[in-house]
């Protein structure tokens, strides 16, 4: 079987040529990073590099970690799992030490053979995880751990409370022509699973071709109603604040941020159900900072890290460490008291025919 290609050379040259001929300054950050990381070495003050979802490297909990371990943490935010996979694989695992992989991408990460198996016995906070997250199928293979989960949460429906006096009860609102030009949805092929749920396909990650065709048709119906697709939390929050959008699927992070900005936002899970996700920190096998990476994981499933990330994102923690710090009201709101809510969500899993999902997504967007 042919070995994996060294992508670094191609990324630097080919993507640069394909992306634009002019010096308009639109070189993807991945290239700049790959170039600088190509000769990354351990230095006196060590640098831990992450690629992760927004909110996972907030200074409020990163600073204490940096101080405690005398290091620097640099993070790149990505808006979709596809983007994370692309950037990780392009650098052949050399660009970043850690990635916060969601369940729809972990399979690709594990298949790429760029991950370091994690020796969980070295993590002192590991046993504080909820038992569900000890050996979940999305990050454990044949008993080997390829990462540790630290947060989880739903994909929610958020809405402008001035427009929807009562919380909508169905996902129908984001397919409703009554709100034409004021809707948004995540620019991510995994969103097809949400469409599948709306259409009643309960096994939303195992879709037959016929079911996929129906999802595609639904997406195509939805497209003219959209103001835009959102690529990241900032993108969607911006759209709400400027009153471009009144309803969209989103993560609790957006609700949290918009509430902090005093925007009249509401959040709900409609009756058709919701998809959800659990994020796992995975380590690159080429990382020169493995021990620091392990410390990071331990920190993030420990009390300080968990509290920090929950405060910033309003996601639910995978660990019990922060329960004393959050207080019973919040623990209940975040469904961290008995995790039955977790079972209700259709957690992101990577469909076997994911390439078809990507093709459908591209076709619809074109």
């Amino acid at each position: 079987m042919p070995g994996p290609l060294n992508r670094r050379t191609f990324l630097k040259r080919a993507a640069a040529t394909a992306a634009g001929l002019a010096a308009a300054g639109s070189i993807p950050t991945g290239i700049a990073e790959a170039a600088s990381r190509a000769t990354r070495q351990e230095s006196d003050r060590r640098n831990l590099t992450l690629i992760c979802w927004q909110g996972y490297a907030d200074p409020s909990f990163v600073r204490p970690f940096e101080q405690q371990n005398n290091c620097k943490v640099t993070a790149t935010y990505a808006g979709s799992s596809d983007e994370m996979v692309a950037k990780w694989i392009a650098g052949h695992g050399n660009t970043y030490d850690l990635v916060s992989a969601s369940g729809d991408a972990t399979r690709r990460f594990m298949n790429s053979r760029t991950l370091l198996p994690v020796d969980v016995s070295k993590l002192k906070n590991f046993d504080k995880l909820f038992p569900k997250f000890y050996t979940p199928v999305w990050n454990t293979r044949n008993g080997q751990h390829f990462g540790v989960s630290f947060t989880w949460g739903p994909d929610v429906l958020i809405y402008d409370t001035r427009v929807f006096k009562k919380a909508p009860t169905s996902w129908h609102v984001i397919y409703d022509p009554a709100y034409k030009g004021k809707l948004s949805t995540a620019d991510n092929p995994i969103t097809i699973a949400d469409v599948a749920l709306y259409l009643g396909f309960k096994d939303c990650y195992n879709l037959t071709d016929a079911q996929l065709a129906k999802c595609k048709a639904q997406l195509q119906e939805q497209k003219p109603l959209l103001r835009k697709y959102w690529g990241g939390s900032g993108d969607l929050e911006d759209a709400f604040i400027h009153r471009e959008v009144v309803a969209s699927n989103a993560w609790p992070l957006m609700t949290n941020d918009l509430r902090k900005a005093h925007y009249p936002i509401g959040e709900t899970i409609p009756r058709e159900g919701a998809t959800g996700w659990a994020d796992t920190w995975m380590i690159s096998k080429n990382s020169p900072n493995v021990d620091l990476a392990m410390k990071w994981i331990d920190y993030m499933i420990g009390p300080q890290g968990q509290k920090g990330v929950i405060d910033v994102t309003a996601y639910s923690g995978a660990s019990r460490s922060a329960i004393p710090l959050l207080g019973p009201a919040r623990v209940k709101a975040l469904h961290m008291d008995n995790l039955s809510f977790f079972d209700e969500l259709h957690m992101w899993a990577e469909p076997a025919n994911y390439a078809k999902w990507q093709k459908i997504w591209n076709d619809v967007k074109a």
């Binding site: 394909a18 996979v85 959209l226």
Partner: protein, 272 residues
Amino acid sequence: MLGPSVVWLGVFYLVPLALLLVQSFWTYDSVNVVTNQTPTLDRYRALASDPLYRDVLWKTVRLAALVTVTDIALAFPLAAFIAFRIRRKSLGLLLVIIPLWSSYLVRAYAWRTILGTDGVLNNFLVWSHILSHPSSALLFSNTAMYITFTHVWLPFMVLPLYTALEKVPPSLMEAARDLGANGPRVFRHVIVPLVLPGIIAGSIATFSLTMGDYITPGLLGGPDSNLIGNLIFTQFGGTLDWPLGSAISMLVLAVLACFLVLASRTGALEAQ
């Protein structure tokens, strides 16, 4: 001393293009996340069989042509004004170039602010009673892309056009008037033929810049605004099907090559 420039061109331009071309004949195994290097026309067949790529390519070419024509129309008065009407020409040119010093992203975001539902333009249109309520067609639409491209690429059209206009000896324009030509006829018979190389140079810039762009559609385009640049970007960024991305890139290069052939036919690329 052609040597160094040929080496430069070779290393930074021809070699990457050759690598892209070679890659377009490979395939991508999404299951195992590897590239299969056995040469095959499979990716090109995928291109040819799926109308998606044709449609998006055509959409992009149309937009690029529209942007180019608009920029020519806008650049002409501006370049002519600087060349003929003001004394401090370098100041005029500086004002045209200054926007280029700010990042492209900054300018694109600026348009997002201007064209938004609660943006400056909509506020003005409502305040002046031209519209009864803000128009949502201004942002996240093909119109927004068209406006942004036209604005952002304009300096690239003004500069070559200015250079060409500056080189036209004023005595030629006087001679034409002396021989009975009025303003428009001087323009048509003397100015345009002589500045044609400048127009072509600017057009090559605006056309190819639009053909390769994927940022503006993402920031300012609507759900329907994917351009060929976005398709390429998705292959390299999301789908990881680099062979397909390379094949699409080759397609774009073919279109640009046709454009260059047409341009050279007009004789505009020959040195004066």
